[in-house]
Symmetry: D2
Amino acid sequence: MILILKKGISNCEMENLKEEIAAKGFTPHVSKGDELTIIGLVGDTIAFQDRFNLSDERIDRIVRIQEPYKKVNKMFKSCDTVVDVAGRKIGDGNFAVIAGPCSVETRDQMVDTAMGVKKAGADLLRGGAFKPRTSPYSFQGLGEGGIELLLEAKKETGLPIVTEIMSVRQLDEHASEIDMIQIGARNMQNFELLKEVGSLDKPVLLKRGMSASIKDFLMAAEYIAAGGNEKIVLCERGIRTFENATRNTLDISAIPVLKRKTHLPVIVDPSHSGGYWWLVEPLALASIAAGADGLMIEVHNSPKEALCDGEQSLKPERFENLMQSIRNMEAFRRGGFSA
Amino acid sequence: MILILKKGISNCEMENLKEEIAAKGFTPHVSKGDELTIIGLVGDTIAFQDRFNLSDERIDRIVRIQEPYKKVNKMFKSCDTVVDVAGRKIGDGNFAVIAGPCSVETRDQMVDTAMGVKKAGADLLRGGAFKPRTSPYSFQGLGEGGIELLLEAKKETGLPIVTEIMSVRQLDEHASEIDMIQIGARNMQNFELLKEVGSLDKPVLLKRGMSASIKDFLMAAEYIAAGGNEKIVLCERGIRTFENATRNTLDISAIPVLKRKTHLPVIVDPSHSGGYWWLVEPLALASIAAGADGLMIEVHNSPKEALCDGEQSLKPERFENLMQSIRNMEAFRRGGFSA
Amino acid sequence: MILILKKGISNCEMENLKEEIAAKGFTPHVSKGDELTIIGLVGDTIAFQDRFNLSDERIDRIVRIQEPYKKVNKMFKSCDTVVDVAGRKIGDGNFAVIAGPCSVETRDQMVDTAMGVKKAGADLLRGGAFKPRTSPYSFQGLGEGGIELLLEAKKETGLPIVTEIMSVRQLDEHASEIDMIQIGARNMQNFELLKEVGSLDKPVLLKRGMSASIKDFLMAAEYIAAGGNEKIVLCERGIRTFENATRNTLDISAIPVLKRKTHLPVIVDPSHSGGYWWLVEPLALASIAAGADGLMIEVHNSPKEALCDGEQSLKPERFENLMQSIRNMEAFRRGGFSA
Amino acid sequence: MILILKKGISNCEMENLKEEIAAKGFTPHVSKGDELTIIGLVGDTIAFQDRFNLSDERIDRIVRIQEPYKKVNKMFKSCDTVVDVAGRKIGDGNFAVIAGPCSVETRDQMVDTAMGVKKAGADLLRGGAFKPRTSPYSFQGLGEGGIELLLEAKKETGLPIVTEIMSVRQLDEHASEIDMIQIGARNMQNFELLKEVGSLDKPVLLKRGMSASIKDFLMAAEYIAAGGNEKIVLCERGIRTFENATRNTLDISAIPVLKRKTHLPVIVDPSHSGGYWWLVEPLALASIAAGADGLMIEVHNSPKEALCDGEQSLKPERFENLMQSIRNMEAFRRGGFSA
């Protein structure tokens, strides 16, 4: 942390400030120029960084140098994390595809779609039992019944299941039944939920909030990791911008930026990013090219009848074709693009 | 709802579509031009609006005309709602100021600040016991101890208290003790929490999410209202944009837009909007000029030592001066600006 | 400017870097901690700030402390600038209203509207002869004929005229005829035009670009000032965000932020900010409350027939009423809000 | 165009409105429901669409159905356009790489970099002679001298040259010397310049504005095409969002969206999108995977000494390696990803 002091600060004020810094256990390094005086505070200032603010009349500007996350910071753990979800690995060269319907609607829809997804070669099965819908008048998910259908689909296909959990209460009731807990974009900063999930020994799929900066996103992951659970997979799913030709704006750059800053795996949800089924393929392939460790794709056996996100869902046949492209692209990447 | 059909749709497809619409209880109005065929569906299409999507090969575009909210829609309730918080009224000409520290820190800090806020003439007292902090290493609030100190400050000052609740569990434990429940920006789409709050008979202060459109904001309020609780006050607190000279960008236009669309009271939080104490006065006064029904302002007895949001907190003396300006501006507005 | 060096930098590399800095005429102040080494460069680093970048393997981070603008910086000129437009003053307590149609369409429209605007008490007359329209198929303005009609309206009303100039060529031909040159939002970073305008002795109304940060905005003004022309009035007119209930999002906070950073007058265009006539009044009054030095408002004698921006134009009667409110609010502000 | 009328519109008003529509040469199709009355206007309403606006008290909402662009619209020209720049083709399966320094600085820098770029296999050479810099104190380009050095580099390498033109005056002087005119992001809505460029018979590289929607972008291209010049290549280069970990946010989805809406070639500038050299490779490869017709990449023989954009420039060796990956990825795409 660097404190840039106000012009005209007196020697007395400066001495007091240095004592305050020392009292907090740090050695202040003062650099005094003709126009500008700077105090550098070196060491672990993460916990410390709230302790000075611009209400202090002596301080003109504060520059925070250390990244505010530790456990998810690549600087402190150089090996990439591999998250194991019931035997399927994600990260550090392990590529995984999660697929399935936006919401679990009926037994037929769920099992049919799951069979299609399995046949196409997906690694994990997704499906929403509890649905965070913008409107209270929209289909809210089947709840517990949805979990049961998911478990049935798991039995039929052998695929581990990923499903969104929206509250601590749902977590208490269903965490043990599911293989990977999804924290949705709208709950990315539901800190009570993050803390609770952090205390479990269970893989977590954390989706980026619509207006979360990359730093916010990593801090949300840090909440989970700080609780002891480092089985975290990050999922970029588009951010909110002025552009409305797409549902969200896929922040493709977030993939290489995240992979530089954290050791956690990073996957992409091209379905929510674009919002239209015809955007899924180009966005999925681009994500692999940019370094993603996996994909999460919405598939529905009859998109036009879907109760949720039909416009962005692929039919099983189309998904099967896409899986071929995905596998080819991933193999091409593994070979090194310039080879 | 208007369906704009794909070019070259056959008569058969058209007849089928009309039957499907009729089967859902609506009368389709077809308008067929040389190049374009349009089907208008009139009536209450809110529940209906998920039932068609662009995966349907017959449909080129869907235009949703009805606003998706009912209970909070001004069209269906022309009189403005007045929310009564333990005797203090907000809305329909009743202007209220909520003030206090970002977080409850110590007994002295809370009671001192509360006394200052009371003396300056605020109507309600705020203070955070449970804090949604971006970092797990930042002060997380005193929790239950904070609620106790708030209750003590209430006893000393007689001011009703407003505090943020972050989970259903906290709600179960503390809803009865507090006068107004605040739902924070990061929980604006925590639908489980909204539903729970909707089932209570207790005033709610709903803050706009950082990337929530005005429509999203009203839909979040609709969640609460749909559960039966219409004691909702909306709070604009800035949105996230590219501009970083301020913490957020106060969307001042949201005030007149919201007041045109809903009967609910609309207040503004100039502290979080700007992020700096010197922005609070101009933003507060501008908000009144634009039609706000109240303000929520952070006050701290020693901002430079605040554990949270010190940079945007006013000292009690400055707040007292601001209260005078607020009252004058509000009286000026009541007189009609052009009088 | 502060250079934060990469960890593990050798003494040799450090010495070389210090020499490079010295060779550029600066004295490096090194602050070496256990984990972090910082070099502070004090003095006028504005011109210098491009000379180091992160491609340099020795540098981890660069913090630029000095604001990159000089001539428009309040730090170097504490008195507020007053811009005089043919006798009408703007800035430092002088409040001015510019009003008129979006585009000059016909003699009747222009003169009628001008008479209404004059009667209502506006200080300057606006009207577009050259129109920057998003579509090549939209009305592009009357061009020279529009300038002539503006001059006629000026003769009838005695009001100085403000009009947009879109190219150097138009400037050569018309600068002498008009009283204040408007640089539109889309040309805010048309640097060739800015340089040319900077060489004139003529007041300039510079509108903020849709995605211009406050810093970008001030740098655009600096281009004009650097050329020798400091008769600049800044105009906030809304920025582009995700919110689409309004045409743009009025960044009301930009007013107090700009007034803290620059000595130039700051006015607001509530018409383009909101995009609807019913938003003009609340946004205009809010802007005054927040400290604006003036307003620019679109008025048309028959908005529903306007060839441009009819939705956001006021009829002369409504404008007259608004002018009363504006004058009252401005007088109220002059009295000090807390008096 | 669809007009949704206000509730309670009288028969008289309706008849008048129909007559007004008919007087403009259109046949109104009225669809009257119990609650809603809709008038559909079929035919070429592009020119017509400004002629009704919400100031009209009879109209509640206007829905514009037709895309406002014609010449660049894929609907009216199903074959993709191929732009030929001095023998190098872009579009419809022809992939091209434009590379070179941000700005032309010295003879050595330009020729060295050009030779490196040529050796690596680039198709066209870029270099800025006129530079649109945010600060008037930054290097503004060599101007005419820069054009001369570019021509020299062209002679040495045989590569056609692409350079930015910022004003009509520069266009008059230099258009004949250069092979492809670049219109920069900041000039995307400099309509005078677009019109002038539209009258030439010369390839144009049009960069997307920082806050331009895809529709705005296409309308800017339509300006050029409307003047008769359809040799337009569109360049996505990142948009401005709240995320500041990257210089801009590459809107990767814009590639497939644009290719669905227009027949013009679409290329990507990964250098400006990310803002850091280490982001160029992943963003370049992702762009190809998403369907781009080419890339524009900044290369400098000594990035740390670059007078402009050094942080995002590749050294020639690194570029050479990237070119190999680009060619491989492009060949892989040509084979069909799922083959």
